[in-house]
Subunit: 312 residues, 2 copies
């Protein structure tokens, strides 16, 4: 069942070396055991290479039920597992995150916001390291607010920018602010765009993604419990964002890009837009419409994985 | 079942007026309908005054299962509901947050980190406002890392401070940083301390709580996927925190205090410490020990609610 190294046409770079996880932490090798507390997994209790050694694609998203739906979808697409079979939550010992696996694909929930996804990524990167995984690609598949796009459009992130439209992430380390790059893999972005053209089912653009620390005031919404600015100020801010190249707003991409960068893991962010923020703030589409929208990043990344494995 | 206004001995201030939620948003009254998207509730589809109008105490915490356990516990303590009866998740239409209610007590999960609890609080404060609730007290009951305290100690927060030990919260609004106060109710803190003395089952202190945006580098851990500082630098930082009055570290108290302040809601933060960060970084106590620790804030706040309702 486990396919090992993907059977895809390799580029020169990929065939010349295996990319292992780069762990930026000299302290870790001194530890006898590593407890990944928020996954309820540990190197003393779980055989990471046996459980996860064949992982090549990791998909992360906010909602646990969406990440479960993704593993069912990708299992079917890849012809792995039998129809209707259940995928147990690997992190069943905690309700902080949910994790599912089929063949070379791992699907993990990360909750909402930079701190929540950062905890998950610290433990995920260590998991992949302990498992001796190589040539891993990580995708964030999520939801977002669009700017100047029809709802349901998919944005593949060129650069993740902060609330002042700069492509950077401010990490506080021991009380001091450190600036980190939010670069994403340009080639991977282009390959995903090509996949969307081949699928031909929904509108997809490559654009900048603004990553904020807040859903209401941080994104200029008028419908939070606190709002001390006018509609004109809101629209001016969103138009400035648009003019700087921002096409959607979410709450996790900057730390995701920064941490994957530092760990030497190829990464991409693919989010569907649930509304056009130039038209409003409330997410008022019907449940069924929203459910269909949320499948689009799954379809796009699913197609990419299939293609990478030579199954398209 | 619904007790209306708590039957406690009222102070002059409380008996002279009812404290309604103060909504710092002039735009909201212009909206025909308000969809609380992350709760899957809306004023057009749910009768908020009927569902929530009698709420006087709201307890929030990170983990959905812990918040369900709390509603079962408090129902039993208050003699409401029958033993073994189930409490449905009011937010069953989404997996972003979980919400439970019994009598005057609402229990809501908030995930991990400032952005995650902030989304929940925006929608919770609007919920209480739409429901026309009055004289509400909100408690965060959570877990934390202690500094210089035995694991299992409970900290009632005097002031929530940032990573530089200042009692403030930086909110980014339309790309600009605004500083907000993280004041908590001093009288409520003292009353909670008195409750802990009356219970007499675990060590409790009043101290400052440091609220960080990150669990690993932000809290000086040596066991994350990224760590570019030494053990000496870590210990120096934690000792500086201790010397400034910090007794525990968590990831939600600052925005919790700031938003409750602005909305005119009495609030307190009660967290148990799962480890002493001067001794290590990994949470390695046994599952059973951690489960018992996590019940302590529930016991303390549960006792306070019972006492407020004249049931002690």
């Amino acid at each position: 069942m486990a396919p090992g190294i993907p059977n895809k046409k390799k580029t020169d770079e990929q065939s010349s070396k295996e990319n292992f996880i780069h762990l930026c932490n000299p302290h870790l090798d001194k530890m006898k055991e590593d407890i990944l507390y928020h996954f309820a997994l540990g190197t003393g209790t779980h055989d990471f290479p046996a459980l996860f050694g064949d992982v090549k694609f990791v998909c992360v998203g906010g909602s646990p039920s969406r990440m479960k739906a993704f593993i069912v979808y990708i299992a079917e697409e890849l012809g792995l597992g039998s129809p209707g079979c259940d995928y147990p939550n690997i992190c069943a010992g905690t309700d902080r995150y949910a994790m599912y696996k089929v063949g070379p694909v791992l699907s993990v929930s990360h909750g909402m916001g930079i701190p929540s996804i950062a905890i998950m990524l610290h433990e995920l990167i260590k998991l992949l390291y302990h498992a001796k995984c190589s040539n891993v690609t990580i995708f964030r598949i999520g939801t977002s607010g669009g700017i100047g796009l029809d709802p349901g459009s998919v944005v593949i992130t060129r650069e993740s920018v902060d609330a002042t439209f700069k492509p950077q992430f401010e990490q506080v380390v021991l009380g001091k602010t450190v600036i980190r790059s939010t670069n994403l893999d340009e080639q991977l972005t282009k390959e995903l765009m090509q996949c969307s053209i081949e699928i031909g089912q929904f509108h997809t653009v490559i654009g900048n993604t603004m990553c904020t620390l807040d859903f209401y005031e941080g994104q200029g919404r008028l419908d939070g419990a606190i709002c001390l600015y006018s509609e004109e100020e809101k629209l001016q801010y969103l138009k400035e964002a648009y003019d700087s190249g921002v096409r959607n707003i979410e709450m996790e991409s900057s730390v995701f890009a920064a941490m994957c960068n530092l760990s030497g893991v190829k990464a991409a962010v693919v989010c569907v837009t649930l509304l056009d923020r130039l038209e409003g703030d409330q997410i008022s589409s019907s449940h069924d419409v929203l459910v269909e929208y949320q499948k689009r990043p799954q379809k796009l990344v699913g197609y990419f994985i299939k293609k990478s494995l030579g199954k398209v």
